[in-house]
Amino acid sequence: MTDKCFDIGTMQAFLDGELAAEMTETVARHVAACDECACLLAESEEESALTFSALEMELNALVPTQRLWTKINDSIAREKKSFWKPILAFLLQPQTAAFASLIFVAVLSVTLLSLKPNAPTNYVAQTGEIQQKTIQPIAKNQLSPPAQTPLLLPEEKNTETIKSVQNKAEYRAAKTAYVRPEKVLTDAKSRDTKSDALVPAVRENSGNILGEESYIKTIATLNTTVANRKDEILSPSARFAFERDLAVTDDAIARMKLEVRRNPKNEAAKQILRASYQNKIDLLNSVADKTELMASLD
């Protein structure tokens, strides 16, 4: 936090990807610790006349590659390994695989900028939609469909990690909104049936790690809490660091999932995947915990 701030020229160069790798790192590190520079970065973004339509165009420009991604994933599922080997090599390049995080960030920003009070529902819907469109095979097996993910919120031992949330009423409201589509299934029995129906589908897939479901559920629940509160909870620089760490972690999860699916016997990949899930939970939890602490001091 003590190193000196950057001028607008450097910020522009940073945005345009014109800085050397080391400098890029330095700027990113500084921005993550300095509110003034975080805001300056956002402003210089404005000045470079980047509007939402431009953003839209960028996203569209990426579509062919996303299609390629989907196609490749489908093919892996069909186990045509030899033919796809060169493409796999390409796929596992950092820049390609980083799409997972890119998509995640895109979804986040859309959600954030919409800033609607019923954001959690939107968030889930959008995440589901986009992920299914782009990284479909993974989304299909690893993530439950949008409406079902939130349905199985409590009961799992990993949900212990979800700290009680400050604004209980709001949290509950969010939870209710989450479960609403399936409200019919109120009694425990029909709920059990519902989760049982899900389990075999997941177990069939040998590419899943033990306890993955509960990681995903925990993350889904925390996501709601955090998505609701992070604007007021995090300062611009903290926000920058948070989003960056989250994007990196999501990238890791996506790539390790892919590896585990490709090679279910790769214990190392499974452990790194598990560690990455845990890191993501820790990351989200730090925001949830902060929320709780702030509430207790009101």
Binding site: F14, L15, D16, G17, D35, C39, L41, A42, E43, S44, E45, E46, L50, L55, E58, L59, A61, L62, T65, Q93, T96, F99, L102, V105, A106, S109, L112, L113, L115, D231, E232, S235, P236, A238, R239, F240, A241, F242, D245, V248, T249, A252, R255, M256, N266, E267, A268, A269, I272, A275, N279, D282, L283, S286, D289, K290, L293, M294, S296, L297
Partner: protein
């Protein structure tokens, strides 16, 4: 293929940074509103919801300006040697110091009043075993909420050396020394702990945590700040040392705990010292570097998982398994007799083992 890759790379780079900065811009725009909003709702003008740096500075100044006319508040109370002391701090520099007397003395400069609320007494000697230090004096104004937080330019507490202190604060630089146990949670502000004998739990969401010369079960957390700890020992068998940060760096020296869990997401981890025989150590990062500086005669089993990262050791390894081909690289090896278990996990960071 090549041009496609290049295009993708630039597009990714641009998009991801732009996405970030757009988010941040939104935060910059929204933050003042949310502050204003919460203020109108709560009618508590001193409370800053979004701890923006600028805002804090302004507040500090206004406190300073009035310091000349403001009186300081001081109070003391006789307590049990092993008293529990709880307090919350709205803002200010907090210093808690252990002394040899069985008495709590509280001193606030340029801020709130100060009062004690005895929550529980020792039935034998009638001395307080649990005391809340509050920002208002319950003896003076009975109607005021007696659990109000302290605030001021400087808040100083002297407590018995055997005291366990429990602090919550909004924005405060916190220093605690020479007490039995400390629990500190700060929304913002550095935490510095020294000479705490039997356990620490310290968390700050924007600031650094520094601990030296302390013992017991230890948990240190920071969201964006660094964690530094040195000369730390367990006080009982089974005491665990934990340190966790999202984007900060962790630097540890001479940690004598046999069990340690050290995690950072994007920050680096540095560990310098010896591994205890039979100890269990887990180090993990997402992208940060993990570096160990250990004696040449160390005896440990290294289980390193380093995804897309790299591994490098200056010390001689007896390799048991090594897999560098897959997308999740792994190395299992022993150094010396292999007594301590050391797990190192990173997704794309580097793992470096050096001679101390």
């Amino acid at each position: 293929m090549k041009s496609e890759k290049a295009k993708v790379k630039t597009a990714f780079k641009n998009t991801i940074t732009r996405r970030f900065s757009l988010l941040i811009l939104a935060v910059c725009l929204v933050a003042p509103f949310s502050v204003a909003f919460s203020q109108t709702v709560k009618v508590e003008p001193k409370v800053v919801v979004a701890p923006l740096k600028q805002k804090t500075k302004i507040e500090r100044k206004s406190v300073r300006r009035s310091i000349g006319t403001e009186t300081s508040a001081e109070k003391s109370i006789a307590v049990d040697a092993k008293v529990n002391v709880s307090l919350c701090v709205r803002e200010g520099i907090l210093k808690i110091n252990g002394w040899e007397r069985n008495e709590i003395r509280a001193f606030v400069v340029g801020g709130s009043e100060v009062g004690f609320k005895v929550q529980q007494k020792n039935k034998q000697n009638d001395k307080a075993v649990w005391v809340m230090v509050t920002g208002s004096d319950p003896a003076k104004n009975k109607t005021v909420n007696s659990e109000e937080c302290l605030s001021g330019e400087e808040i100083e507490l002297d407590v018995p050396r055997g005291a366990a202190v429990n602090v919550k604060s909004r924005t405060s630089e916190t220093t605690i020394q020479a007490v039995r146990r400390a629990v500190v949670k700060n929304i913002g502000g550095d935490i510095s702990l020294n000479n705490i004998e039997q356990g620490i739990n310290a968390a700050t969401y924007q600031g650094d945590v520094t601990v030296e010369n302390s013992g017991g079960a230890i948990t240190l957390e920071s969201a964006n700040g660094n964690i530094v700890a040195f000369d730390i020992a367990p006080s009982e068998i089974g005491d665990i040392f934990k340190a966790k940060t999202n984007s900060g760096a962790i630097s540890l020296q001479r940690i004598e705990h046999r069990q340690a869990e050290i995690n950072s997401n994007s920050g680096s981890i540095k560990f310098a010292g010896e591994f205890q025989n039979g100890g269990q150590y887990n180090f993990g990062t997402q992208v940060g570097t993990i570096s160990l500086a250990i004696p040449e005669k160390s005896s440990c089993k290294i289980n390193a998982l380093y995804g897309y990262g790299k591994f490098n050791s200056e010390l001689k390894l007896a390799i048991i398994t090594e897999d560098e081909s897959s997308k999740a690289q792994r190395l299992v090896a022993t150094i010396g007799g292999g007594d301590a278990n050391v797990n190192l996990t990173t997704y794309s960071g580097a793992i470096l083992i050096r001679k101390q």
